[in-house]
Structures are given as structure tokens and as C-alpha cells.
Amino acid sequence: MPDSLSKKEFTYCPGCHHGIVHRLIAEVIDELGIREKTLIVAPVGCSVFAYEFFNVDGTVAPHGRAPAVATGMKRATPDKIVFTYQGDGDLASIGTAEIVHAANRGENITTIFINNAVYGMTGGQMAPTTLLGQKTTTTPYGRDAKANGYPIRMSEMLSTLAGAAYIERVMVTTPQNVIKAKRAIKKAFETQIKGLGFSLVEVLSTCPTNWGKSPVEAGKWLEENMAKYYPLGVYVDRTKEAE
């Protein structure tokens, strides 16, 4: 087990991808040798306890405000490595202003963005990232663009901002994808270590419980539906020019 994970058992549902992503982050922190100077800003939502799962100093931000909290931490102690861990309800809805402005300032922090197209903790309501036609407890007839607007593509949107140094979208459905995801997370932390500006990795994730699917079905649904609307890949990489 990576040093950067605590001994606390994950509280996530079976088939949820939080556990995989946590482990990848912890491995990256270990490999970069930054555990003793890394600070986590955990979100509100299913991953509210993320601060307990990492063997690093940390806090929990109010819903959506993690990028502002991380900004305060980083400005106060620029020698620390600060990362936020945020879901789609957190980052793409209530915290839209905070993530946009942190990215636009080129705030030298790293954000791991977990997009599972639904509100998890509150019981499966519509998120800004919910796909058109997708049923949730607040879109019982399926999300309708006229009534609820369109799913937001955050990585694409944030990559238009000059302060964004590195943004990539990944998923962790297969071993190959996991390897790619880890590479992206590592690059995001390296971007911060080098002081190049804002970095974000969006991870398309499953929520078998609120999607009403088995873990295997959920993985398949993610690949066949979410990954089509939210294409994987690097959206911005200004690390070369910044170096």
C-alpha cells in the first residue's frame, strides 16, 4: 500500500471509482516524494472523507469552495503542494465560479475532478454533467435540454482560460486506462511542483448505486455513453511553453 494512503478503510460503494483514483493519487505522491509537504482539500459529497484516506495534512472545504481554500493555502505557503479533490456537483455546479477563477489566475494548485454525471451523496439527483436523457431522482423522465440545460464539459471550458497549464480527461475502466490516468495525475502534480500554474485531471467515474447498475454494467455504460459526450484526452498543455 502506498505510504500516502492512511490505514482507514474506504467507505465508498462497491464499483465506485473513488478508491482507484485515491490509490493512483497516493502512488503519485509517493513517487514524487512530496508526502510530507502535500495538503489535501477535500470536498463535500461522497468523497468528503477523502482527507482521512490520505496520509497527509488536510481539510474539508465548504461545498464547491475547494479551489478558493486551496488558493489561500498555496498563497500562504507556496512551498507546499496543494490539491483539491472534487466531484461534479461540487466543481461544475455550486463551485463553478471558484474553479473558473482559480484556473484563470493560473493558481499553482492541482485539482482532481471526479465526474460521474450524478449527485452521489445526496441520493442521485441531476448534476450539471448528467447526460441528456439520463434518469436521476430529479430528472425522473430523463434530462431534457429545454428544462434542464445541457451537460457541461468542464475540461473543455477551463482549457479556454490562459491560466490553465495542464488539463486532461481520463477514465479508469481498464488497466490501460488506469495507467494513462496515473500518468495524467503525475503530470498534473509535476506541473505544480515546477510552478507552471493550474492543473486539472478530470476522471470519468461510475456511480453504480445511483445509476442503478451493477459495477460491470456501470463501467460499460460509462464507456458507451459518458466517454462519447466527454471525450478523453489532453485539453490543454502549456507546460512546455511555461518551462
Binding site: 492512511s6 508526502r35 510530507e36 509537504k37 502535500t38 495538503l39 482539500v41 482527507y51 482521512e52 490520505f54 496520509n55 497527509v56 495534512d57 488536510g58 481539510t59 474539508v60 472545504a61 465548504p62 469552495r65 478558493a68 481554500v69 486551496a70 488558493t71 489561500g72 493555502m73 498555496k74 498563497r75 500562504a76 505557503t77 507546499k80 465560479a97 471558484e98 473558473v100 477563477h101
Partner: protein, 350 residues
């Protein structure tokens, strides 16, 4: 050496001298000069100034900065302070020290940009959710505001609490000669053994405002309450003027108290002895002293630039021992000394 300074700018300079090197803020009248002053002055002392995208972001930047153990502040005016209330509650829950300056203007809603005292409830009774308190200091001159800055940061650190300087548009905008205390070393603050500094050679530290288990959360709440009790026992501050043998005592704070000081002299000429009781800490409120004073007079008149907010605390302090009439203007209207004198005469039947 005394220097002529605008209120907002004097408060900013005093904060820097108190060792504050981190300011996050968002412009709002009538205190934007404080934000502007910080933007030019902090770089000179290797400090950090950041104009946030909103007051919501501001208070969360403070949350993050305070987590690292460094002294941090913001300033705002009424609608801005309302926006900060989410973060205020979280910071109170996480026991994070920080200093807020609220230069109060007329409300509710957008209101106007003139001086008022109508944020008293918000500052002293909550504003944010949950059982929390913050220390509230109410200066009545620019010099006093300057002098209270050191105290504000020290109390915040000592009790791991939020401290608000509750001023008003008058104090923010007027100019007065002030004398500043010497510059303090920003590193010369008590060690914060809870601060997030990276888990080097120790167990990781966690700063949070919550526990999902109600029994554990209750323990946290009882810890906050024990702190608040200590503050109530040790940090009550007030000023008295002419209270001994007074015909009537007037309770007032901030700019309103300053007007009452003028009224005291006017009343003297008409043979009325007016005493002033001026709370400096609005929370913890000086209930005990006010209760003692209620034994010495028939009437304690409360005057406020609001429609009776501190009045409720005065009534609690007096506890029925004396009459507690009220006079107030609000919405940015500042009462004249003559108006206040008339209210005093009416209260004592003259």
C-alpha cells in the same frame, strides 16, 4: 508621531503592524480604500494581497490561509459580509483564527453606502448557521480602531476564534490624526500546533468543521462552548463616562457613542447629568457591568444607528431593574446630537 489618516487606511496599516501579511478581499463601498491600501502596502512588506472573485471566495481563501497558521484578514461592508457567512460558519467550526473588518452601511439588501449599525444581530448573534460565536470589537474613533487591531489578532490566535471589527461608514471614511503602534514581527506569533504545515516527521493533521457522528459533533460543540465561556469570563471590554451619579445612562457603541459624548456636554449646560456606557466588545457583551449600573439609575436609554438591535442585549443586562427606552435612526441616517438630546429629555420626562 501622529499622522492624518483615513479610517479604512488606518485600519489596514494597523493590521500590517499587527503582523498580518495575508489579505484577501473584494471591493465594496464604503471601505474599498482598505482593499486598495493593502494592494499597495502588502508587497512592500513581502505580504500577499489577492483580490478574490467574490466575497464567497474571499472567506474561503481566508479559511485556507488560516489553516496554515498564518495571520489573515479581510474587510468588507454589509452585503459583502452576508456573502461571507457560509465561510464564517465553517471557519468557526474548524476553530480557525482570522480577523474581519465590517464597515457597516445601510440595509437590508443593497441598501445604501452611508454609515449604519444594523449588522449588530448578524455580527453578535450568528449570521452563519450553527452554534457559534465570534468576538466583536466596536471602535468609536480611528485611533481606537488602530489600537484594537493588535488585540483582534491576538484574541483570534489565543482562542482560535474569528474576530470582527464592527465599524461603520463614518469611521471608514473620516480622517483623523492617529498614532500607530510599532511594527510587529509577523513570525513572532504563538506556535499553532494544529496548523497544516505538511506531515513531516509527525502524524497528519486534519482541520475540519464536522463530524458525521452526532455524539462526536456534540463533543466538538461543547469544546467551542467552553472556549466561548472563557472569552466571556476574560475578554469583556467597555468604557464608562460620567456614569456615577448620572440622571440617566445612555448605552451606545461606535460612532453613535461618539455622538453621545458630544451630547453629554450639551446636556450638562441644561443641568442634566448624562452618563455613557459604551460596550467595546459587543460579544462578549458587558451584561454584568450593565446590571450593576441598572441599580444606580432609573433609566438606561439605548441609542443606535439601527432600529433596536443592541437594545435586546441592554434589556438582558438590565434585567428589568431600570426602564430601557430606545432611540434610533437607520438606513444610513446618522442622528444629530440635538435629536439624541431630545430623546434623553423625553426619557427622563424633561
Amino acid at each position: 508621531m501622529k499622522m492624518l489618516f483615513k479610517g479604512s487606511e488606518a485600519i489596514a496599516e494597523a493590521a500590517i503592524r499587527a503582523g498580518c501579511r495575508l489579505y484577501f478581499g473584494y471591493p465594496i463601498t464604503p471601505q474599498s480604500e482598505l482593499t486598495e491600501y493593502m494592494s499597495r502596502r502588502l508587497p512592500e512588506v513581502e505580504g500577499t494581497f489577492l483580490q478574490a472573485e467574490s466575497e464567497v471566495a474571499t472567506v474561503n481563501m481566508m479559511y485556507g490561509a488560516s489553516c496554515t497558521g498564518r495571520r489573515v484578514m479581510t474587510s468588507t461592508s454589509s452585503p459583502g459580509f452576508s456573502l461571507m457567512m457560509e465561510g464564517v460558519s465553517y471557519m468557526a467550526g474548524a476553530e480557525l483564527p482570522a480577523v474581519f473588518v465590517n464597515v457597516v452601511r445601510g440595509g437590508p439588501g443593497l441598501g445604501d453606502i452611508q454609515p449604519a449599525q444594523s449588522d449588530y444581530f448578524q455580527a453578535t448573534k450568528g449570521g452563519g448557521h450553527g452554534d457559534y460565536r465570534m468576538i466583536v470589537l466596536a471602535p468609536h474613533t480611528i485611533q481606537e480602531a488602530v489600537d484594537l487591531m493588535n488585540l483582534a489578532f491576538d484574541l483570534a490566535d489565543k482562542y482560535r476564534m474569528l474576530v470582527t471589527i464592527l465599524a461603520d461608514g463614518m469611521l471608514g471614511q473620516m480622517m483623523e490624526p492617529v498614532e500607530f503602534p510599532p511594527m510587529r514581527d509577523p513570525n513572532d506569533v504563538p506556535e499553532k500546533k494544529w496548523a497544516l504545515t505538511g506531515a513531516k516527521g509527525r502524524e497528519p493533521r486534519k482541520v475540519t468543521s464536522f463530524d458525521i457522528d452526532p455524539y462526536e459533533l456534540e463533543k466538538m460543540n461543547l469544546r467551542y462552548q467552553a472556549t466561548y465561556k472563557k472569552v466571556e469570563e476574560n475578554e469583556v471590554r467597555y468604557e464608562e463616562m460620567n456614569t456615577e451619579g448620572a440622571d440617566i445612562i445612555v448605552a451606545a457603541y461606535g460612532t453613535m457613542a461618539r455622538i453621545v459624548k458630544t451630547v453629554i456636554h450639551m446636556a450638562e449646560e441644561e443641568g442634566i447629568k448624562v452618563g455613557l456606557f459604551r460596550p467595546i466588545t459587543l460579544w462578549p457583551f458587558p451584561y454584568k457591568r450593565l446590571n450593576e449600573l441598572a441599580d444606580t439609575v432609573d433609566t438606561i436609554l439605548t441609542v443606535e444607528m439601527s432600529y433596536g438591535q443592541m437594545l435586546e442585549d441592554v434589556k438582558l443586562g438590565v434585567n428589568g431593574k431600570a426602564k430601557t427606552p430606545f432611540y434610533g435612526r437607520s438606513a444610513g441616517v446618522v442622528p444629530t446630537p440635538t435629536e439624541v438630546l431630545d430623546a434623553i429629555k423625553k426619557a427622563i420626562g424633561r
